[in-house]
């Protein structure tokens, strides 16, 4: 029978199908960070359970770590916030006690969990990958079945190397045609979330396909898969092709020699069969996607940069209308306002969505030779890992940012969720390359606008949103 890619990944990890509809699914790779793991390790200790398999886990601190050079200089001991320091220390202690490999705070390989997974080759095509973080779907970009789990499941995976799962339904999101110049993978996923809504993918695993996805780099595919959860789907995946195989070759944990040859043959089968049936197919025309900006407090509240803040009066569904009205009040915006008229206070370029080398390059290209607008009090660039940082510095991108008046930071989650010192002030508007514009997400009372790295960079220079394609035009 013809299978989807998700069907194949599911079937190849099915340990046991139980009569009650639940199934045991084997987990190949487990990634651990400091926020969602302490209670899981504590649970193991209380029940006197040993991890099932140690050598499949990899850990790194990311959510709490400071990003200023000064605060990072003395490692964990230098973390000023004592509660954050305790959480990072607890991860170090747990990894030490249980014997789990950790990229600790100032290891050059440390970084955001979803950046280091593919970067190190720990997450490979065809694997099942889980992590106590909803953006784990990022790894789907290399053809892995990857999704976020809660802390009880972190404990469950540590103890059994399995998850109790129910099979999800299959959705294909097909992005046809070609993207215009200056339109990026971030704009693609924001447009998708805007189209199907923040609950549109609930209960589904989404496969992203179509010519636009085929033409996209692996890092771009990561940006798309990363935000599958913003469309409600736990998992987003992209079929393996030559781009995937070229990407994974030569990484730290990628197989070599005969194993590599064997793996490549296996991976080449990781795509949906031509006759595979999806429960739902959604199609978008890539050429009609414009650079996107979120205006509200849900990732589905997006419009093209040329657009205006929508009017709730035009919406009939009372629950939706009320949500839009509340978002307008929280964001301090009025219906009909041009997106380019929104005044910005800060710019954040980073997060598991957009902190890889291609994102750094895209942002640097826009700000090169320009100066940050005086009205922007802080524009920060936070690379996703120590290796991304080193690569960017080798290319001189750090100097481009610094010369333009942007801050160049140490790797971590940073202002995406503001668990460290990087946060918005009450009422501040931020052009952010992160993934969530929820109330208070980037700081109490903070107002987030989700955009691509190039759009955030352009906003840092202009002081307001501007169609980055105008910048691209200038530069070329």
């Amino acid at each position: 029978m013809a299978k989807t890619l998700y069907d194949k990944l599911w079937d190849s990890h099915l340990v046991k199908q139980r009569d009650d509809g639940s199934a045991l699914i084997y987990i190949d790779r487990h990634i651990i960070h400091e926020v969602t793991s302490p209670q899981a390790f504590e649970g193991l200790r209380m029940a006197r359970r040993e991890p099932w398999r140690l050598d499949t886990n990899i850990a790194t601190p990311d959510h709490n770590v400071p990003t200023t050079v000064a605060e990072r200089a003395s490692g964990v001991a230098g973390i000023e916030d004592i509660v954050s320091r305790t959480q990072v220390t607890t991860l170090d202690d747990n990894c030490e006690e249980f014997g789990i490999m950790e990229y600790a705070i100032n290891d050059k390989r440390q970084g955001i969990v979803h950046v280091i997974g593919p970067e190190s080759g720990a997450c490979l095509p065809g694997m099942t990958v889980v992590c106590g973080d909803s953006h784990t779907a990022t790894n789907g970009a290399v053809g892995a079945l990857a999704h976020g789990i809660g802390t009880s499941e972190v404990e469950h995976v540590l103890a059994t190397q399995c998850l109790v799962s129910m099979k999800m339904k299959n959705m294909l999101v097909k992005v046809n045609g070609e993207l215009g110049e200056g339109v990026t993978s971030k704009d693609v996923i924001l447009a998708i979330v805007g189209k199907i809504g923040t609950a549109g993918g609930s209960g589904y695993a989404i496969e992203f396909g179509g010519q636009v996805m085929r033409d996209m780099s692996i890092e771009g595919r990561m940006t798309v898969c990363n935000m599958a959860i913003e469309a409600g789907a736990r998992a987003g995946i992209v079929a393996v092709d030559q781009t995937t195989i070229d990407y994974v070759q030569g990484r730290d944990f990628t197989p070599t020699g005969k194993l590599w040859d064997q793996a490549v043959v296996f991976w080449q089968g990781l795509h949906s069969d031509d006759a595979a049936k999806f429960d739902l197919v959604v199609e978008l025309d890539g050429s009609s996607i414009e650079p996107q900006v979120s205006w509200g407090t849900s990732p589905e509240m997006v419009v093209p940069v040329s657009g205006r803040v929508p009017d709730p009066a035009a919406v009939s569904d009372p629950v939706k209308k009320e949500g839009m009205e509340r978002a307008l009040v929280y964001m301090g915006l009025t219906a009909g306002q041009a997106i380019s008229d929104i005044k910005l206070d800060k710019v954040f370029i980073g997060s598991c969505t957009n902190s890889r080398i291609e994102d750094m390059r895209a942002a640097a290209q826009v700000v090169k030779g320009q100066k940050k607008a005086d009205s922007i009090s802080l524009a920060m660039v936070v690379p996703g890992s120590g290796l991304v940082k080193a690569q960017a510095e080798a290319e001189g991108l750090d100097k481009v940012f610094i010369d333009a008046g942007l801050e160049w930071r140490e790797p971590g989650c940073s202002m995406c969720l503001a668990m460290n010192a990087d946060k918005l002030g009450n009422g501040e508007h931020c052009a952010s390359t992160s993934n969530r514009n929820f109330e208070g997400r980037q700081g109490y009372g903070g107002r987030t606008h989700l955009v691509s790295p190039a759009m955030a960079a352009a906003a840092a220079i202009a002081g307001h949103f501007i169609d980055v394609r105008e910048f691209v035009g200038d530069a070329s």
């Binding site: 509660v83 694997m127 103890a159 789907a233 009320e322 929820f438």
Partner: protein
């Protein structure tokens, strides 16, 4: 795990759609390394008028008097009535921990986000999906009657209103069974240890590179 069989309690509203887990428990409280003590910070940004800090006593913080959980009529509420896609966003299990710690045993909504829904069952918290017209009816009745209580029976998978209307809901058989019995699902999985080992042998034969150890430093 805590079991759930039947429960009757006062219903309180969270009358908006797409309530995300950042709203349920803001990130500054995720720095705790414990599973308990999150109840006082449930819906922190809506419940209080100031910005909450971890390890801070909430006694004396200024309350938002318009927030339902601060209203006398909803004191002691243990059933949360809400709108679609409740629990979207972050996978933080701190969200069900906070609801549980506050005293909620059950959340009723037209739909839930997948990860949150799953996390609830690990903590003895019952998420109930009812279609939106029924949820609308419950909201209307609750607003009209202070002290409005709902009776939930997981054995019969039903919600009963004070006037005797009974609505049935669906729960996966595995989850229902675990919740009714308060079963530890790690123990249940470990009963399949031989199946897991057999699978590992098959898997290693088909894809041996998957078992290359993560090691180094």
């Amino acid at each position: 795990m805590k079991s759930f069989t039947t429960h009757s309690g006062i219903a309180a509203p969270m009358d908006r759609a797409n309530v995300d887990t950042d709203l349920i428990i803001p990130k500054q409280f995720l720095k705790s390394i414990k599973r308990t003590g999150f109840g006082k910070n449930l819906f922190d940004a809506m419940r209080y008028l100031d910005e909450g800090q971890p390890d801070q006593s909430c006694d004396g913080r200024p309350l938002n008097k318009d927030f339902p959980l601060n209203m006398k009529r909803y004191h002691g509420a243990s059933v949360l009535l809400t709108r679609g896609n409740f629990g979207c966003g972050s996978s933080r299990e701190h969200a069900p921990w906070a609801l549980d710690d506050y005293g909620f045993r059950c959340v009723i909504a037209p739909s839930f986000a997948d990860i949150f829904y799953n996390n609830c069952f690990k903590n003895g918290l019952l998420p109930i999906v009812l279609d939106s017209t029924k949820v609308d009816q419950l909201f209307k009745e609750m607003y009209a009657a202070p002290g409005y209580e709902l009776a939930i029976d997981l054995n019969s998978s039903s919600v009963t209103t004070p006037s005797g209307d009974t609505f049935n809901f669906e729960v996966d058989e595995f989850r229902r069974h675990c919740l009714l019995e308060g079963l530890d699902d790690i123990d249940l999985t470990l009963q399949h240890s031989n199946d897991i080992r057999d699978f590992e042998l098959r898997h290693a034969a088909a894809a041996p590179w998957v078992f290359d150890a993560i090691q180094g430093n």
